[in-house]
Every structure is written in structure tokens, then in C-alpha cells.
Symmetry: D2
Subunit: 340 residues, 4 copies
């Protein structure tokens, strides 16, 4: 990689990962995260490198395990993700209650201060999503990812009003997440973007190329984009070709070095490395993941345990991987070689 590229990468992200692709050892980052980050800074961060969603640690009783969670973040922080999403989908946001949420975000912010920005999950009923977003802002998080509302069908107008209400409740940046029954169309996003200057990011969890392309072509650089399908690596090259190269990696939670290697292969259009890892790891990984509904998260917790960073049990309605599934996953991980 030539000097010019290094320079451009530095500008984009300020961070080492792409500069020193062969050195993946944990290291203190110079990156100094401010306590507050304005929406445009969040947007820049989102567009500049790999993102990940750390698991949330629970103890044997299923209660939040603050100590384990802090250690997890300290372990993951140096690997080069551009931002970490606390209490996102992989962090079982969908199983958290109002009383435990602030502590989780505060732990993430405190642990990662000066290391890596923290974007907090929010979602559910409008008023609960606002409570989350405001708690996250107060805790010093750098933005919020808005997960879907709860249960009811809703039309574009109602979804927009929901998103707008959350955006107006905070000053920091908001990333909206298309997933399940919360599916915003380009015209709706355009209106929201006009009304909410702090709506700066769009995460896709639908996987409809026509819709994703329509949104990107309509909104252009008004948003930062984030590929957010489960096991997003499988979609990464396709999304990059659409103009949206950034994605969030769930496997970063247990094979952070491989996750970064794959991300760099995408960034460099290194198809050989992508195909090698897709064939040797991700495709058989999908076969395990597709054995059970909800395994997109369970398998990540299983992976973390296998690599010695146990995050405790998943909460219902998720279930643990079966023994043979864990063994198959362990074999896949081992074949990748050391992650340190």
C-alpha cells in the first residue's frame, strides 16, 4: 500500500487498522473520543471503517454483568473497529428493560472513553426509544441507532412521525434501521432528512438490493450507510458495489482479527481473500446459524465463549446452540488460527 493511500485512509478514519493491516495486536489507539460528538462527526465515523456490536454480558441469573461487559469492551476496543454499538441487536437490546439500559450504556461509554466511540441502541415504543436515546446522550454516548418499534403494523407516515419524535428528543446523531416491519422508503427518508438534521445514518437489515440502491441513489451523502444484515460479511461486496461499503460485523465479537482482515479485503477489492474466507469460514458458519431461529445472536455468544470471552447465557426467547453446533463452530474458529 503506497503512501498516498495511507494518507487517504488516515483522513477517512484517523485510525490504524487499514494502515497496518498485518499488525493486528491490541494496541493503545491515539484516537481521543470526545465526550460529545455532533451528528456530522458521527456520520464521518460511521462512514470510515468497520463497526461492531458487542455482546451484552449476563451472569448465571441472567442479570447484566457489568464487570464482564467492561472487560469485553477493553478486549475489543483496540482491534480497530471505528465505533462500537452498545446494546444493539447483537447486544440483545430486544431483551433489555428500562432499568438496566442506562447502566449498560454508561459502562460502555466509561470503558471506551478515549478509545472508540459508543453508539447506543434504542427502540421499541416511541416513548421508550426516547427514554433510551436521552439516557444514552446523558451517559455520553456519541449517537443512537434506532431499532424498530414494537409489534404493531404502521404506515410510512406513522413510522416517520415515530423516527422524528426520537430525533427531536436528542441533539446527537441518529441512525435509523430498516428491519422487519419498520421499513422506510426513499421518499419517507427524504422527508425525514429534511426535518431532522441529526438523522445522519441509515442501516439496512432488509437485504432488498432494489430498495437499498433506491435509498442510496436518492439520499446520496446526506446519510452514512451501514450494511446490517446478520453476518453482514456475506453482503459486504455487493453493498460496497452499490456505494455503501461500511457494515457491522457480528463475528468481530469472537474473531476480531479475521473480521478486520475481511473488512480490509472488502476495502481493497481483494476478492481472493474474501472468497477464501467466505468459503472456509462464513458459508459453513451460516449453515450452523441457519439451524435455529434467533441463532444470529446465539452463535455469537457461543463463539465468544469458545474463544475464552464468555458473555454468559442468552436471554429468552433466544436459545443456546446445541452441543454439536458448538463443536462445529469451535472447529471453524480453530481453523482460522490465532486471533491475537
Amino acid at each position: 500500500m503506497g503512501q498516498g493511500r495511507r494518507g487517504r485512509a488516515d483522513q477517512a478514519r484517523l485510525a490504524p487498522p487499514l494502515d497496518q493491516p498485518t499488525d493486528t495486536r491490541p494496541r493503545p489507539l491515539q484516537f481521543q473520543t470526545t465526550t460529545h460528538m455532533n451528528p456530522q462527526e458521527l456520520k464521518s465515523i460511521m462512514g470510515s471503517g468497520l463497526l461492531s456490536f458487542p455482546l451484552t454480558d449476563f451472569d448465571a441469573e441472567g442479570n447484566f454483568d457489568r464487570k464482564g461487559y467492561a472487560e469485553r469492551l477493553e478486549w475489543l476496543a483496540p482491534y480497530g473497529a471505528t465505533a462500537l454499538f452498545a446494546a444493539g441487536g447483537t447486544g440483545e437490546f430486544f431483551s433489555l428493560t428500562a432499568d438496566e439500559y442506562p447502566e449498560i450504556i454508561q459502562t460502555a461509554v466509561d470503558t471506551c472513553r478515549g478509545k472508540v466511540p459508543i453508539i447506543a441502541g434504542a427502540g421499541g415504543p416511541t416513548r421508550f426509544a426516547i427514554q433510551c436515546a436521552q439516557a444514552a446522550e446523558k451517559a455520553g454516548a456519541h449517537g443512537v441507532l434506532l431499532l424498530p418499534h414494537y409489534l404493531t403494523e404502521a404506515g410510512q407516515e406513522g413510522l416517520a412521525a415515530h423516527v422524528e419524535a426520537v430525533c427531536r428528543s436528542v441533539k446527537f446523531g441518529v441512525i435509523v434501521y430498516n428491519r422487519g416491519q419498520s421499513k422506510l422508503y426513499p421518499a419517507t427518508l427524504e422527508k425525514l432528512a429534511e426535518r431532522c438534521s441529526n438523522l445522519v445514518g441509515f442501516k439496512d437489515g432488509i437485504g432488498d438490493i432494489e430498495l437499498m440502491s433506491s435509498i442510496h441513489l436518492r439520499m446520496g451523502d446526506r446519510f452514512a450507510y451501514l450494511g446490517g444484515l446478520p453476518t453482514a460479511e456475506v453482503y459486504a461486496a455487493a453493498y460496497k458495489a452499490l456505494g455503501t461499503p461500511v457494515y457491522s460485523s457480528a463475528v468481530f465479537n469472537f474473531i476480531p482479527r479475521t473480521a478486520m482482515d475481511f473488512y480490509r479485503a472488502v476495502a481493497d477489492d481483494d476478492m481472493a481473500t474474501q472468497h477464501r474466507l467466505l468459503k472456509s469460514f462464513f458459508m459453513p458458519y451460516l449453515e450452523i446459524r441457519n439451524q435455529g431461529q434467533g441463532y444470529a445472536v446465539s452463535i455469537v455468544k457461543a463463539g465468544a465463549k469458545i474463544v475464552g470471552h464468555d458473555a454468559g447465557p442468552v436471554r429468552t426467547p433466544l436459545t443456546e446452540l446445541k452441543k454439536n453446533e458448538c463443536e462445529a463452530l469451535a472447529a471453524l474458529i480453530e481453523a482460522l488460527g490465532p486471533q491475537q
Copy 2:
């Protein structure tokens, strides 16, 4: 179960609505609801007459309006529903937060004490559903309807663990609700019934005749059954024919007399009355309701306002009916004649 309680349950099951089908005037019920009701009493209640889900009142700022809600329940209580579900789907459970939930249930219990049993909604993350269920039990509600979990996919085993955790957290009866991605199959329900003696009811919001029939044939009188599709009147005759004659009426919220008339026509196999009301009211009503996603609730709030019992605005992501839709609804309601 003491003699006194058994007596009351019998009264409920054999209560006036079906005995005196021609007298639909509001009247003081002799039914004396106890503060506590055991699961079998709840099951008896569920199987004995029309159920309904009152709207939840919000003020202009969208905050819970306790006074309006109490007046609503006082208005509806004498019309002959066997039980009222506080903070259920039509009550926008999906938009409520942990801090406002207990007051809603307490208001319902206090207002309806001695008049009609209150079953409380619960749902979302397992721990939140437990918080709801326990708060409802403490407030003196007579059981809980468990709405779906939030967001994540889940398999049968995980869904069962979720339902079991909620059942074990309370002593009163639990009704489980198949809807959306929370879809329990007969074998799962059978296991749950063995493990949870207080799981006494099943509500269907899927509308798959084969599944509903399979569940009913497998579980028989172990459960009480409740047809819970939106505008359940349309399904009532079919579900009765499967052996599950009880349903919950949303339109009871604004045309309680017609709702009771229809229920009696179903109970009496009076197809002429059913078809007359289906053709003159319910089918054109569906045409309005199907204009917008989420209108299944919005149209009920619109109806309540039209009949002079305004429950305030819906919360996002729901939206209000358009003006012309309200006018069409008003014309339909007026054509039914007086409801008192």
C-alpha cells in the same frame, strides 16, 4: 377454590348476556369480582361471553389520561362484556412504557371492581413482560394476556421458555397470544400446559384455520380459547364452528350494543342477523380499516370519538384516520341506530 368463589365463577359463566339476549340495556351486574381470581376462574370467565379491549385514553400531549380512561370503563362496564382487557392491543400496549403501565392497570381494576374482571396486557422482552404481569397481579387484575416478545426471531423452544418464565412469575392466570412472529405450535403448547398450571387461555391472532383447529383438537378444554383477529366478528362464526366460540370485540369500544347483538347472534347461530350486520356494517368497516396499516386500532379511536367518548390521539407509529375516512365511519355508525 372456596365455595364462594366457585359460586361466583358459575355466575360469571352463566351470566345474563346469553340468558337474556333481548334485554341489552345497561344494567348493574350482580357479578362481584373478587380482588383475586384463580387461574381456573379466569378460564371460566374467558369461556363465558364476549370480551373486549378498551382503548387507552391519552390527553393532547399524548400522556395517559386517567380520568378519561376511568369514565370510559364506567361507560363500557355495564354493557355485558364478560371481561375487559386493560392495556391490550386495542389499548396500545405496544406504545406504553414501564412507568405508565401500573397506573393504567390500577385505574382499570379500581374502576371495574365489582363490575367486570380486568385482564391486563403484558409483552415485550421477557423481563418487561414479567414486570407487567407482576404489577398487574399486585394491582388486583384477574389475569394477564401475554402479547408477543420484541423484534427477534425465535424458535419454539425459546418461545416456550419465554412464556414459561412469565407464567412462573405470577400466580394468577395467563393467556398466551399467537400473533406475528410469536407463533406457538400444538406440541409446544402441550408442553407448556404441562409445566404451567396457570396457563389457561389461548388467543389466536394468526387466522390459520388449520393451526387453530390443530391446537383446539390437541388441547381441548385444557385451555379457554379466544378469537383475536382484528375485527374478530368476521371470523366469529368460523371459529365457533371449530369449537372456539369466544372472541374479543374491538368495535365494542364504540358500538357496544351492536357488538353484544352480534355476539348473541353468534351464540344463537342466528345467521340472518350475523349476515345482516356483516353486510351492512362490518364489510364496509373493513374497507375503511384496510386503507391504512395500523388502522385496526386507529379506527376504533376514531369510532369512540364519533360516539362522544373521545379517547384522544393514537400514539406513533399509528396515525389518525383521514377526514373522509372518519366521515365514512360516522355514516356507518349512524346507520346502526342508537347504542344505548
Copy 3:
């Protein structure tokens, strides 16, 4: 309509099956089917008793087996079905070619002349459906069941034009079949009914109670209705309660006596018999049927073989039941007792 025909239609509608429910032995029917039947006669026939869809016999090479098919129809004709559908869904219409279709219909018409009316399947591309319908009319069939078009998406206007073209190509009656991507809504059916006097029947293969009820309430006695979900017995009571008591029985192909018993139990609102047969036979039958896609037909061919009326192999893309599935089916059939 001449006096003689009217008389025969009356005979059909009032025919023995429902009059003499306890005598189920095969018997020569007095019913003398004319070579031609007008659409209103077809409609009367459709509304008067159990319908069934005989399997189509193939030899070891998969070619149409005329002799086997004729024997099948002679075996089934006396059991009391009001009409038989030749080359319908259970008869693998979806696997037949233009050159073999006329022979199948001609065989059915010739074999059943004077015994039971034959309604022929038709479907696929508009022009192919017209070829089928005209060939069936020429062969002396008494009407046609219009199965869905092939492959493409289509809107209501295009579907209506397709159905109208088929109706206009023949003089006898047409029954339209909602299934898969061919889903006509009430307003479309109303327009078609105005334009096509020979469109006299509606068969439902969707299973959406709200849609079925809307259609029935809108169209009333303009159509005869036919419940046509796979294993329609499971839906029969529900559909009867909606006002559409007639259905087509696939299991009639191998347990004709039980099929007629069940039909009479539906006609008589005999819930005990229905529930007994649903629990002892149909529910475990569904468990086998749901093991494989396309098994709704394969399991019927397996059943026919088990009872000594082998219809040969299914055509691709259908597959035969596995050995253990056949054994489970044989046990279910045996438990029902003799069918003669």
C-alpha cells in the same frame, strides 16, 4: 332448461347421500347425467353435496393409463360424490400436456356417463386454458374448474380479463379458483359475474377467512362455493359456518366411505363425529402430509395404492412418500376400518 333436466338437477340436489346417511354401501345411482349441462345446473350440482378430485393414473413410464383411470372412476362413482373433477389439482393437472388432456377428460366423461357429472380442470396460459375448456366441452364434460395462470404476477384487471376470456370461449359453466398468485377480490368477482353469466362457481384455495367471507357476503347465491384447501375437511366446519358448506375431498380417493361420513357429519352439525375423525385420522394425516412440499397430492396417491387402487407414480416435481411415511399412512387407514 327443460323439465327433464330440471328434474335431474333436483334429484342431484336432493340426492341420497344426505337423505340416507346410514346407508353407505356403493349403489347404482338413479342420477342420469345428460351429455350437456347448463351453467345453472352445474351450479346446483356444485351446491348439493361432496365433490372430489380423482387421481390421474400413470403407468410405470409416467404415461396416462386410460384403463386404470376408468377403473378408478368406476370404483369411486357409486360412493355418492355429487360431481367428480377430472384433471384437477389432485389429478395433477399441473403436470399434463395439451396432447394428453383430451383423452383424460373423454375417459372420465365416458366412464361416468349416467353416473356422476364430470367437471374438468383447465388452467395455465389463457390460450391453453381455453384449449382445455373447449376440449372438455366437446368431450361432454359438464363444466370446467379454472386453475391459476402460469408464472407471471398479474393485477386484478388482468386476472379478470384472463377469466373472462376463458368464460367466453365455452357455453358450459365455469368455476374460478383462488389459489396462489391468482387471487380475485370481491369487486373483481362482482364485475366478472356481471359480464360472464356462465361463471357460476367460486373455489377457495387461499384460506383467508376475511376474504372468503367478503366474497360470500358480496356475491351471495350468484355463485356456488367450494372449499378447496388441501385436506379441506379441516376447514369444512368453519366454511360451513360462513355459509359455504360444500368442499372437495381429496381423501375420498382412498377412504371414500370415511370421506362421506365426514361430509354428513358436517352437513348434520355432528361435531362429535367430526372431532373424532379429525383427531383420530385427519390431524395425524396432516403431520405426514406436512413432511414434504407437494405431498398434498403425493399422499393421496400413496393412500390409493395402500387400499389396492394404485394410480401409479406421481410426476415430477412431485415426489413419492418415503417408506416410513407410507407405513404411518397405512396404519391410519387401517384404523378407520373397511371402506366398502
Copy 4:
């Protein structure tokens, strides 16, 4: 494979379109299509450039218009598509009958001989698909695209048997098409590839990136791949990034120059041109196309008429675009400038 043939295949693969991207004027191709082409040659052709599906011409009565069709192919042949699919999806294969199919293919083969290879559509019931494939082979077509079977659900095993039967019925190459309910998974495709040496191509009409990627990673260069979603240009960059750069263009039917320009922009990773055309043409085009079910074909016939190459009416169940939709389309086409 003889020397001459190999040479011609090489010519095809290395043919002008990508070599001379700036010269888009119609020109006589040196490519001399032989009457027969072996499966590997077909595979080479498929992987070497833009493919397209010409419309099928119908006259005012809806009958096949041989003269119009021949003129259409003569018009389109010089524009640089690597192969043309006669009677494919855009050619309304789904509306054709057995008696008109051979003439269509023969017309295409005769007209394009020595200009561009013809791949014929086939589909529907197994035996009909075989009739088509054999007729196409006899007519001198260079391969067959196997569209889905008709109507019935089917499992992987049955789908595979269906595809295998078609492959075994011919000697030339077969391309299988995942679309709608005919969805082959990687393991099934792998087995089919082992058993059918003439199965050389895979066309995707599902749009599931995870599935497409799984198939490509599993099958590698055993197959040639073809992106076949409606308006495939929207997916082209994403599919190229997965390793499958070839797609079939429907708009080639009326804006062949723009279609070739876009194809070259994809081949050259020229994102600026792609985004310009996507924003100025394809996105507003999708808005028209998405107005009606089945418009994916109707809009192409409308486009052909607008540019002076009227192909006559669509067949039911398709419908023509409305007048205002045609005007909007005409404006989009005009804005692209001359296509010659």
C-alpha cells in the same frame, strides 16, 4: 469440439462489445453462429457479455406475428448482445401454447443465424418443458433456459428430478432459473451439476444475496451465472461484486444503446456512469414499473412501441400501461437521446 467452433466461441467471448466500448453503432458482427453449439460453448457465451430477452410480437388478435418478430430481431441483433433469449420471460413464455412455440423459436433461429446465438425459453410441466427443449434443439437453438414448473409446491428432490429430466432430454446446454416457487439450493445444484453435464448455467430471479453468494461460492466456474431480476441493471453492480457480472437486460428491447452503455459501465466499474443512468433513468423507470403487477413485461412492450418498434399487445393476464404511464415512460426515453 471442433477447431472452428472453438474459434467462434473465443470470438464470442472476446467479442467487440467490451473491446470497443465507445463505438456503439450497429455493425455486422463477424460472429458466425453455427447451427449447433455444445453446452460448454453456451456457457462461454453466457459469461461473455450482455444478454437480452426480446419481446414476442403479437398482432391485433393476439396471434404470434412472425414478420414483426423477425424484424425486431434484425433490429436488435447488431447492438452487441452476446445472446438473445427467444420466448423467455420478457417474451411472454408464460402465455405461449405448445402449437405456437416452435414457430417462434424457428423464426428467431432463422433470423439470427450467423449473427447472435438464440437461447430458447422452456418451462411449465416437465413434459411440456421437454417438448419445448426438444423443439428448440431441433429448430437449431443454442441452448435452453428452464423457467419454473407450474402451480404446485415442490421440494428440492422433486425440483431436481424435474430439472434432470429436462437436461436428459436434450444434448445442448441448459440454464436453470431460480424464480418464485422454483428455488434450488446450493446442495441441490451441486447434485444436479454432477448428474447433468449439460446443465451449464444458473439464472437468479430471487434476489437473495446470501443465496446467490452461497451458490456462486459452492459452484464456482462449474456454471455461468446470469442476474435475472426484473430491471437487472439495478442489481448489476452488486452481482458483479459477488463474482457474477453478467445479466440480462429487458430495457435492451427499446433502448439498446443505453443498455449497452450501462453494461460497459458495469464491466468497467464506471460508477459515475452507472449512478447517472440509475438516477436519471432506471429509478424513475422503476416507479412506473412498480405501479402494476406484471408491468415488468408490459412496460417493455410500451417502450418498444414508443421507439417505433411496436410488438403489439400483451396477453392476459398482463395489462397495458395506462396512458399517463406511457407518457412518463416516453419522457424518460426521450431524455436519453437517440439510440442509434
